[in-house]
C-alpha cells in the first residue's frame, strides 16, 4: 500500500501524469478514485475488495477523463488484459498511459464490507485465475499473493447447459433475460465497449428495441455477446454492475471458450496479439457451412 502511494506521489509531483486512477476507501467499501493532487496519494488502497476494472476509464468514449491529463492506472492482472485490448484496437496510445500493476490474490464479488476472502465471497472468475501477475506494466508493486480460494464453477454450469435440449436452454436464458431492465450498465462499465455510438442506441434504423421487452432484450444480449467475442477479458464487471443479476459471466465464459476452440485465441495482456474477429485464417473450421 505504502509502495503504491509513494509511486503515485512521485508520478504526480514530477508531473509525469495528471491523474492516478486507483481505488480508495468509500462509504460502501472500496471504490474507484481519481487522484490529481500528490497530497491525496495516501488515499490510495489495494486489497481484495478492489474488484472494479479501472481500465474502463481509459476508454476514449470518456472524453472528460482526457481533461485530467495523462493517466496512470492501477491494474490487476485481469485488468491489464483490458488495457492491452484498448492498445490492440488502437483506442489508447501506449505513451499516453502509465500502467501500475498490482499482484492480486483474488477479489471479492462485492467491493462492500471487510469480510475476508473465502470461497463464498470470492468473485466467480477468480478461482483458477492464470492472470494474477501483471506483465503489461511500467511498475509492479506489492508482494506475491496466495492463490484465490475456492474452485472454478462456471465450466461445469456451461457443460450442464450444453447438455440440455435447445428449448430448455431457450427457456433458461429467457427467464434470465426477462429480468433485464435495459439500463445498459453492462455496457457502460465494460472497458471493451468503446464504440463512440453503440448500435443499441441507433434509432434510424432502430436495430435493437430499447425498452425492456423480451424481443429487444434477446437481441441486445446476443449483440453484446457477439461484440465481446475476442474482446472480453473476463473481468466480471458486467455481471457485478447488473442490477438484475443476469449471469453474463456465464455467457462471456462460453464465448471465450468458442474463440479459444476455433481461433486459438485467449484473452491476453500482450497487445501485439491480433484480435480474432477482424483477422481470419484460410484454414478456419467451417463444419457448419454447407
Amino acid at each position: 500500500m505504502k509502495e503504491l502511494q509513494e509511486l503515485a506521489r512521485t508520478l504526480l509531483s514530477s508531473g509525469t501524469v495528471g491523474v492516478v486512477i486507483g481505488w480508495e476507501e468509500g462509504p460502501r467499501g472500496a471504490r474507484p478514485a481519481f487522484i490529481t493532487d500528490a497530497a491525496d496519494s495516501s488515499r490510495l488502497i489495494f486489497d481484495h475488495r478492489c474488484t472494479h476494472n479501472l481500465a474502463t476509464y481509459l476508454s476514449p468514449r470518456r472524453p472528460h477523463m482526457a481533461r485530467l491529463g495523462k493517466a496512470a492506472i492501477v491494474v490487476k492482472g485481469c485488468d491489464a488484459r483490458a488495457v492491452a485490448g484498448l492498445l490492440r484496437e488502437t483506442q489508447v496510445k501506449r505513451e499516453d498511459v502509465v500502467i501500475i500493476g498490482v499482484r492480486c490474490g483474488g477479489v471479492a464479488a462485492d467491493p462492500a464490507g471487510a469480510k475476508p476472502l473465502t470461497a463464498e465471497t470470492v468473485a466467480e472468475r477468480c478461482p483458477g485465475c492464470t492472470a494474477r501477475e501483471p506483465h503489461l506494466a511500467d511498475h509492479v508493486v506489492g508482494e506475491a499473493q496466495p492463490e484465490p480460494p475456492g474452485a472454478p464453477t462456471r465450466d461445469a454450469r456451461i457443460a450442464e447447459l450444453d447438455a440440455m435440449s435447445a428449448p430448455k436452454r431457450w427457456a433458461f436464458w429467457q427467464a434470465e433475460f426477462a429480468r433485464c431492465i435495459r439500463c445498459n450498465a453492462c455496457r457502460e462499465v465494460c472497458p471493451m465497449c468503446f464504440c463512440e455510438r453503440c448500435v443499441g442506441d441507433k434509432t434510424e434504423p432502430q436495430w435493437l428495441e430499447s425498452s425492456p421487452h423480451p424481443r429487444g432484450n434477446f437481441a441486445w444480449h446476443v449483440t453484446r455477446a457477439l461484440h465481446q467475442a475476442g474482446r472480453c477479458v473476463d473481468c466480471g464487471e458486467c455481471q457485478r454492475a447488473c442490477p438484475a443479476d443476469i449471469p453474463l459471466g456465464l455467457l462471456n465464459r462460453k464465448i471465450a471458450g468458442i474463440v479459444a476452440d476455433r481461433f486459438d485465441y485467449r484473452a491476453t495482456d500482450d497487445p501485439t496479439v491480433p484480435a480474432p474477429i477482424g483477422a481470419f485464417s484460410m484454414s478456419d473450421r467451417q463444419e457448419f457451412i454447407l
Binding site: P214, L251, V259, I277, F280, D284, Q286
Partner: protein, 150 residues
Amino acid sequence: MALPAEKIEAFEPRITAFVCNWCTYTGADLAGTSRLQMDPNVRIIRLPCTGRIDPLFVIKAFERGADGVIVSGCHPADCHYTSGNYHARRRFAVFNEILGFLGVEPERLTFSWVSASEGQKWREVVNDATARARRLGPFDAFRALAGRSA
C-alpha cells in the same frame, strides 16, 4: 419439437436468405433461368458480400417472422472483395454457436457457399432449409417474444 403430420402439411415456412451479389445471387439466378423446380418459401435479400451481412440482420429476420434463415456467399478464395467471406466465416461461426447456446435450434440457420455456377446446389440448399424449418414448425418461441411484456 416435431409437429403432427397434418400440421406439417398446412404449415408453409418463411425463410429469409441473405446472399452475396457475386456468387450465390448469380447462382440462384442460374437456378431460375435453368427452370429448376424448388420450394417457393425463400425470400432472397441481395447484399454486396457476405462480409456485409451483419448478424443483426438474422436477428431482425427472426423478429419479423422468419422460420429459418439462410446466409450464403462465395466459396473461400472466390470472394469478389478478396476476403469478405473469410471475415464472415469467423463472425458467423461465433454467432452460430452463441445462438445455439441461447437455445435457438441450429436447424433454423443454414450457412452455405454457392458459386455462380452452382444453381443445382442452390436448389438443394433451399429445399433442405425449407424441409428442416417445416419439420421444426413455426418459430413460435421467437414470435412469442413479441407478445409478452417483461
